[in-house]
């Protein structure tokens, strides 16, 4: 059966040029970047090039890029590192109800074990965080505000420039988890007043297991792990050279293709949104209609459970997702969908469809043709032959 992959928010296939660049590292560059001899210098040069590529893509300087094992580690480093660095001076953390678990669960852990005061700001029904609500949640002892750029489930984009301006005005460090948006959208730290930014290679056709944290010059971040002092002591441990090279190449390619791909994918996304809303009864779009990622179409389909729809579509050859990735068979509704004010029963019917570079018009047509049948079956409104 031919497969149609429509879950690019979960992960993207590695670009062949990225895979080739990584394979060359594994084949030809055996050195440790910290070694002083030729093999070490060759590896160091590749890491430096990747650092330049990532920095260039977001308007940063190379010294502001810290490589990590991915988005989760970048979020942990941002929250734990920033709060630890200003401990004694400030102890407050403000975040939103729709953050990724890498932020929310880290915040809860810090509240429980590190005496951090933790405030959650609710979002509007369209998934947007009102900047005024962030302003109201900040007090004189707030250390860090963390607001994601684009939500991983509903694709809604947050007004980072406004929130960043508020943070700057109040002397608060500002972190944004931009794992879903960097690579897909322009993200320039010269225009957005943000101090810490998490990004992740496998969301833009790079390898899994490598990401980065942008740390604005002057922003203090304490290390979480101790050791040999790599990444200027901010993330110690021998560098994942091939992964970092893959991240750099993926970043460069994403920047080159971004303008054209975003427009193309947004057109596919809009066809999915219009098609689903027209052909599936009792389906609603989740998140903001226009302030959303160009590749994200997300819905709540009343009277279904998302896991069943995902399974049934899988058996028809389509890969989509219900809320966030989960294979455990545990049907708890997503905290993001609940945060939009959607009731628990309806929230179980969340469905996320995310297109990518390989998605064609024919893929979208096939999906729109198949989904209504699958929904009828899952709802039990389809006739079953005896």
């Amino acid at each position: 059966m031919t497969r149609v992959y429509l879950d690019h928010a979960a992960t993207t296939p590695v670009d062949p040029e990225v895979a080739e660049a990584m394979a060359r590292v594994y084949r030809d560059v055996p050195g440790n970047p910290s070694s002083i001899y030729a093999e070490g210098q060759a590896a160091r040069a590749l890491v430096d090039t990747a650092r330049e590529q990532v920095a260039a893509a977001i308007g940063a300087s190379p010294s502001e890029i810290v490589f990590t094992s991915g988005g989760t580690e970048a979020d942990n480093l941002a929250l734990r590192g920033a709060l630890k660095a200003r401990r004694g001076e400030r102890d407050g953390l403000v975040t939103t109800s729709i953050e990724h678990h890498a932020v929310l669960d880290t915040a809860r852990d810090l509240a429980e074990h590190a005496h951090v005061r933790f405030t959650v700001v609710d979002v509007a029904p369209d998934g947007r965080v009102p900047p005024s609500a962030i302003a109201a949640a900040i007090d004189d002892r707030t250390s860090l505000v963390s607001v994601m750029h684009a939500n991983n489930e509903i694709g809604t984009l947050q007004p980072l420039a406004e929130i960043g301006a508020i943070c700057r005005d109040r002397g608060v460090t500002f972190h944004s988890d931009a794992v879903q948006s960097v690579g897909a959208l322009e993200f320039d730290v010269r225009r957005i007043p943000v101090d810490l930014v998490s990004l992740n290679a496998h969301k833009f056709y790079g390898p899994k297991g490598v990401g980065a944290l942008y740390v604005r010059k002057g922003t203090r971040v304490a290390t979480m792990q101790t050791g040999g002092g790599q990444e200027k002591g901010r993330r110690t441990g021998t560098e994942n050279v091939a992964g970092i090279v893959g991240l750099g190449v993926a970043m460069r390619i994403a920047t080159e293709r971004r303008g054209r791909e975003s427009a193309r994918q947004a057109a596919l996304r809009d066809r999915i949104i219009d098609g689903v809303l027209a052909r599936v009864p009792d389906a609603i779009l989740t998140g903001h209609r226009t302030e959303r990622l160009p590749n994200n179409a997300s819905f709540v389909i009343r009277g279904t459970d998302g896991a069943s729809v995902v399974m049934a579509l899988d058996l028809e050859g389509f890969a989509v997702s219900s809320g966030s990735a989960c294979t455990s068979g545990d049907t708890e509704p997503s905290h993001v969908i609940l945060a939009l004010g959607i009731d628990r029963e309806a929230a179980k019917g969340s469905l996320r469809v995310t297109v990518g570079r390989g998605t064609t018009d024919a893929d979208v047509d096939a999906f729109i043709a198949t989904l209504p049948k699958v929904v009828d079956h899952v709802r039990g409104t389809a006739a079953v032959s005896a």
Partner: protein, 356 residues
Amino acid sequence: MSRVFVAMSGGVDSSVAAALLAERGHDVVGVWMRLTRANGDPDAPRCCGTEQAGEDARRAAAVLGIPFYALDYAEVFGRDVVDRFVDSYAQGETPNPCVACNHYVKFEALMADVVRKFGADRLATGHYARVTHDGAHRLLRARDAAKDQSYALYMLGQRVLSRLEFPVGELADKAETRAIATRFGLPTATKPDSMDICFIGGDYRGFVRERAPEAFVSGPVERLDGSVVGAHAGIGTLTIGQRSGTGIATGERMYVLRLEPDRRAAIVGTREEISATTYELRDVTFTADVPPAGRFRTNAVLRYRGTPLAGWVTVHADGALLDLDTPALVAPGQAAVFYDGDEVVGGGIVTATRAA
């Protein structure tokens, strides 16, 4: 090629069921049933409902190269198996949770879902039983009588049987099952059989005590003539037909004849005092959907792996009357299953002894 869903528990039997169907060219899909919530519930089922069992099932499916999904049945399992089990014990019955799980969870909830939602033509499990599809759909004992599980499947009717497959019931014995598992390279090949009640583990009395403490209040042990001969620790500790472990030393072998939950009394007696031959059955069903006759001869099995006992079944509006040729003790809550040779004809739940 038909699409067959296989309920995979993580054990060797259901893994082999999936392997055999895949080998026959069916479009096989593995499903594992989550029977409890994930958050470290101490009451988590021990065998097929645990996370580890789910992982074992997933590994087996991966080896076979079939799609695999975990489905959540925690709600229906809690309500229709665990709660019923506890309620039944508290009322002095001896329930069979496997019968309830087959009835309400596997062959009602799961069957409905795989057919309706996922377009399955058939559902298969790793049960040791056989089903034949020649015109009418018949439920038979497994070829290996020692492993036969047809007793716990008696409630299946034509609609469900028509969509069922029990591939391992056709195998000669457990050794053949394990040999097939080894041939397919299944990691479950050497996994031990599960023995306990799946959602409890060893101590079912402790489990019931927590939920129904009233079943563990002491009461009198009496003979048939009403004389009190001792005390017991609660009717939840007693099962009709068991050798009396009720703490009385009369020198005779005593059996629990009857429980009277209203006054917490246990009635015990000697083997000679076992006189019951007639039992009322509720929730009576027939595999052919209709009884073979209003009154028919049968061999009734009254507990899992029990010996068949000859008798008559008389069907009436609310159930049926089972009239055994020789006296036997049966605990209310157990299933009485009617056999005709190797074929399961139907069955029901024992409610009470009726004086002949």
